[in-house]
Amino acid sequence: MAAITPKSVALENKPVRSESQWETVLRRFARHRMAMISLFILVIIFGLSIFAPIITPFPRDQIDQSRRFFQPLTINPETGEMHWFGTDHLGRDYYTRLLYAARVSLTVAVTSTLLSTLIGLTLGMLAGYFGGWVDMIISRTLEFVATFPLLVILLILVAVLLDNENLIPIPGFVLNIIMAITSVDRIDNARVIAVVILTIALLFWTGTARLMRGMVLSVREQPFIESSRALGGSNLRIMTRHVFPNAFPPIIVDFTLGLNGILVLESSLSFLGFGIQDPIPTWGNMLNFAQSYAFQHPWMTLVAGLPILLTSLAINYVGDGLRDALDPKMKI
């Protein structure tokens, strides 16, 4: 005993460096180089798309048959302005359209992934933590929903919606918000975006829920959960303070993968002619038009695909950085 006490007492009055857990996470995240670079790229992409109306040199839908298929970095002969990324098959400025497209694509991808992750997290947590009949109901529902072919359902819903716009009631203020964010000017397009987001959110959560349930099942059996229970911790406390933080990290990776999947899904939808339609640009429908001219003007596909690639990569790295920063055992 003598070996421990005197030293400790002597140092007792040394002030304890205090740092909240979130400060620790942020500090660790800041040390992750790829994650910081990616975060920077994401901020730029989001910033450009938000300030698109101010930044862009050309009107979004201005068609000019004389300026079709300009290559990147071509200078407009009339105005002397630079077409940074060239022009498309109708002579519209590619740079301008990509920035506007980001609004629709990112809104759809981020919102629907967030919603579906939220649903999956909650249901997976409840199923894994409580088990028994709660797990039974959630797991069977999950298996049922997981059998739905997402793309087909999306096609049907959008087709029905285009036919009869009042079939799926969506509150007006939601549509107004969507129109404001995405700078979509027609209400039926806003309706399509809303339905796409909702449908993806309601069908895409099964993977997340399954992952979360598995994680919770393994975390739940850890002795530190029992330790908290022995101290009198309630279910809510144990779930939020102990189970969630330990089960959460793989969900970050799952989120980034889901986001990429949905970015691509949106382009498939456009490809089949059911997504957001021209003249409103999305990364998906721009890539699809570019595909038609892939052999004559290969730069088009590169330019149109670049934002999807960049965003996907950046989100992945940010996710990795966040996961590592949240794990105290990881040396950064």
């Binding site: 005993m1 400790s8 029992e226 101290l231 933080p245």
Partner: protein, 354 residues
């Protein structure tokens, strides 16, 4: 097992506590505690059998004492600890803490009781949340029970950390930054900060390096002198139990077979199983020659325990009666309890040399 025998144990188990309460006040009394785990089988997942992990166990812990509970793996000693903390649902029996039956407590009463009743876990690596600072981890009980404001809690945590021999600056660290012994100290601080009256220590040193074991044991004893809490010390290592306990209970296959004060148990065991266990304690003297009792066979399955005395298939003293009649757990000499038909003969009896 017949009802008659059950009644016998019941009566005999009740009487000692009445006598003991005269000299030292009883803090915790366990009466006829049973914990059966059902074994499901078949197509309909019906219960086909029971594992009688704890089968009719009675004992008492006095204020401020250390009761050692020993037995080999799977004898149910850990289940006893978990059941009386209500981490497992008891099948039958009573757990009286201050004379009130804990097993009937409602949620809020039980939560209040958990301030007085703490546990130290076996594995110091997995019993601390890897994502929670030590400071927050030690303060968890205080937070749950709303004791003090933030400043007071930090102060209490600092004190507890110092008491267990850690530095207050360790509050900002995570469990993985500590050694096994340090983590077990943190586990003790978690319990200590609540100022409990009873700590169930579930094999607190068996996961630790031998050189660290004695440090943690001595720490526990020092804290007991200072704060006066009682320990129910669960272990499979007899020398550890001998080191720390005031009284010792020996479990075999879900039952307590012997209970006595430390000296009485180690110098004159009254159950052959205890004797065999004691003979297996290594003696740190290569010249010492003594006969080790090597028990034959394995521990029988608790699914289907042997008839009569549960120890008879492995006992060198077993006679016909042991196969048929289950010995009652009774006071052979004052303060010394044993469940053996021939408890008087144990001291002088040795198995034939193999």
């Amino acid at each position: 097992m017949s009802d008659v025998q059950l009644d016998n144990t019941q009566v005999s188990a009740l009487s000692p506590q009445a006598q003991q309460s005269d000299d030292t006040a009883t803090l915790l009394e366990v009466r006829n505690l049973k914990k059966y785990f059902s074994v499901k089988g078949g197509l309909l997942r019906r219960t086909v059998a029971y594992v009688k992990a704890v089968d009719d166990v009675s004992f008492a812990v006095r204020k401020g004492e250390t009761l050692g509970l020993v037995g080999e793996s799977g004898c149910g000693k850990t289940t006893v600890g978990r059941t009386l903390l209500r981490l497992e649902q008891a099948t039958a029996g009573e757990v009286l803490f201050d004379g009130r039956n804990v097993l009937t407590f409602s949620g809020s009463a039980m939560k209040a009781l958990r301030r007085d009743l703490q546990i130290i876990f076996q594995d110091p690596y997995s019993s601390l949340d890897p994502r929670v600072h030590i400071g927050e981890s030690v303060a968890e009980g205080l937070t749950i029970h709303g004791i003090g404001d933030r400043e007071e809690r930090v102060q209490k945590v600092r004190e507890a950390l110092i008491k267990v021999g850690l530095h207050p600056s360790h509050m900002q660290r995570f469990p993985h930054e500590f050694s096994g012994g340090q983590r077990q100290r943190i586990g003790i601080a978690r319990a200590l900060v609540m100022n409990p009256r009873l700590i169930v220590a579930d094999e607190p040193v068996s996961a630790l390096d031998v050189s660290v074991q004695s440090q943690v044991l001595n720490l526990m004893r020092t804290l007991q002198h200072e704060f006066g809490m009682a320990y129910l010390f669960i272990a499979h290592n007899l020398s550890v139990v001998e080191h720390i306990s005031d009284r010792v209970a020996v479990m075999y296959l879900g039952k307590i077979v012997e209970l006595a004060d430390r000296k009485g148990l180690f110098t004159s065991p009254r159950h052959p199983y205890t004797k065999a266990l004691i003979s297996a304690i290594p003696v740190p003297n290569p010249r010492a020659r003594r006969q080790r009792i090597i028990l034959q066979g394995d521990v029988p399955s608790p699914l289907n325990p042997p008839s009569g005395c549960r120890f008879h298939p492995r006992c060198w003293m077993a006679r016909a009666i042991c196969r048929e009649v289950e010995p009652t757990f009774e006071e052979k000499v004052p303060g010394h309890w044993s469940a053996c038909h021939f408890s008087e003969e144990v001291i002088d009896s040795l198995p034939a040399r193999q």
